[in-house]
Amino acid sequence: MKTRGAPLRALVLGTVAVLSVIYILPVYVMVVTSLKTPLEITQRHYLAPAGNLQFGNFATALRLVAPALLNSSVISVTVTALSVFIGGLGGYFLARFRWPVTKVIFVLLAIALYLPYQAVLIPLVRIMATTKLALTHFGLIFSYLILNVPLASILMATFFFSVPRELEESAQMDGASRLQIFFRIVSVVALPGYASTAILVFIQVWNEFLLALTLVTPYTTTIQVKLNDIKGSYVALYNLQMAAALITVLVPLTFFLFLGKYFIRGILAGALKG
């Protein structure tokens, strides 16, 4: 499908130019503004870089968000590790035990995968409040686990499909048990799949807002809830807002830029097969 032609080139270049402006402008303005003084911002030269780089904005923003950053890290890392582990086991069942009941489980998973969180929000908050789990990180960890294990299972299953069965069969003949085969062979071969699933779950949990907002306590405020607070309380201080937004987005964006291959594979695995 590779062909060349002058009008086509012009069309491609035009599209690239327009998209570049639309997609770079917001982030460019965010970065530039985060380094300005409030006085500089009132001069409204939004595209101009900061005269004096105000790295102090980041120090201030970081002081504001540090506890939330820690909460989000603890919650996201724990949920990711557990989802990937349980999802790995479940995914292996989906990929290798093709019974009629597997279809039923698959349909239940497909619905769970796209379930609007509202549908379970009220009971979840009730459970977390009565058990007092909401006062600790476990409240959000447990909630996110319930919602992310289905996603992790489906994703891992698609990756296990591509692990050749012959590997397992020869190990089976050597007398290895199913669990040994799973942990020592299949999981090792499917490590890139684990990476994709982990990145997707991590980003989803890190970015989640509704549950974090509903279950919020002073001890479990996540970074997204904190950023929304900052946006509300420092209305005119756009430099602080933008610095905090940049800090919030730094972790998932780093994953995207440096492990983009796994991120993309994860999305495609979820989209085209599940």
Binding site: M1, K2, R4, G5, L8, R9, V12, T15, S20, I22, Y23, I24, P26, V29, T33, Y46, G90, F93, F97, R98, I105, F106, A110, I111, A112, Y114, L115, P116, Q118, A119, V120, L121, I122, P123, L124, R126, I146, P150, S153, L179, N207, F209, L210, T214, Q224, L227, K231, Y238, M242, V249, P252, L253, F256, G260, I264, I267, L268, A271, L272, G274
Partner: protein
């Protein structure tokens, strides 16, 4: 069934149990909570203390009597149509350009360019775009006025007549990359590439190839993208909460935001459960075709 056959089956089931039981436990909790919400929507729970007295359709009747409910439903419909149709068309266009692209290095650049917002949260994008849209000193209006295009400067999300559309634009901006990624991947099947090549040998124009060869043969990919976008547009909460909180008035309110406010600010928990069930029912309708398609692909 002879005893050994049964024993083999039992052994297989025992083998499978280790893998599937943890997953089933989570699914059980999930569907248990769904049933709980369903029941609560028929209860008489009003106030902070739970009340599970059966009240029939009382709160559903209350819901359909509210103007706000119908405003929200209308807004959700706008999200479903305008958040999805333009995104799919644009994504198709960009994905096709990438395929026939012709300029080296541009594919990786363009893909990263449109895909990076997918890694960002709606709270972050909402924070940035709130400032872009701010009418008095916001970025867009300032830039427009600076180049003399004052006529184009607008109130964006502060104008009740257009506010929802500006919110939807943020959504399109954020989800376009996912559409491009998935559609481009579905162009890549070997059979499809062969069909395109033979069509080109027959002298078909690029536009004809797109509409006569590519689009009809990536129905699966389009179904996936449309379902993904529909479900995301339906669930929209963060953008509205962060940028306008449903305002001005109820102009940008959506079911998900009303559900949150009804439950946690007005403490009309039965109403909140009812709204949650409406959102769930719409989501359910959206994912049926998708689930059937996925099921066929998985178990073919």
């Amino acid at each position: 069934m002879n005893p050994t056959g049964l024993a083999v089956r039992f052994a297989r089931a025992k083998e499978a149990a280790v893998f599937v039981l943890p997953l089933l436990a989570f699914l059980l909790v999930l569907y248990g909570m769904l049933a709980w919400t369903f029941y609560t929507s028929f209860a008489d729970w009003e106030g902070t203390a739970p009340n599970y007295t059966f009240a029939g359709l009382k709160w559903y009747r209350f819901m359909v009597g509210l103007d706000r409910f119908w405003v929200d439903l209308g807004n959700n419909l706008r999200w479903l149509i305008l958040g999805v149709a333009p995104t799919v068309v644009l994504a198709l266009f960009i994905a096709y350009l990438l395929e026939i692209g012709a300029i080296k290095g541009i594919e990786a650049y363009l893909r990263t360019l449109v895909l990076y917002p997918a890694a960002m949260s709606f709270v972050v994008t909402g924070t940035i775009w709130s400032w872009m849209y701010q009418p008095d000193r916001g970025v867009l209006n300032t830039l427009l006025r600076a180049v003399g295009l004052d006529a184009l400067a607008s109130g964006y999300t502060t104008d009740p007549a257009t506010a929802t559309y500006w919110l939807i634009l943020i959504f399109v901006w954020q989800y376009l990359g996912l559409g491009v990624l998935i559609l481009q991947a579905s162009f890549r099947s070997v059979e499809l590439q062969e069909m395109v090549e033979s069509a080109m040998l027959d002298g078909a124009s690029r536009l004809r190839i797109l509409f006569a060869v590519l689009i009809p043969n990536i129905r699966g990919g389009i179904l996936v993208v449309v379902s993904l976008l529909l479900i995301s547009a339906l669930k929209v909460f963060d953008i509205v909460y962060v940028v306008t909180f449903g305002g001005p008035g109820y102009a940008t309110d959506v079911l998900a935001l009303f559900q949150f406010i009804a439950t946690y600010q007005q403490h009309l928990v039965a109403l909140g459960s009812g709204l949650a069930m409406v959102i769930f029912a719409l989501a359910f309708i959206i994912i049926i075709p998708y689930t059937v398609y996925a099921l066929q692909r998985w178990f073919e």
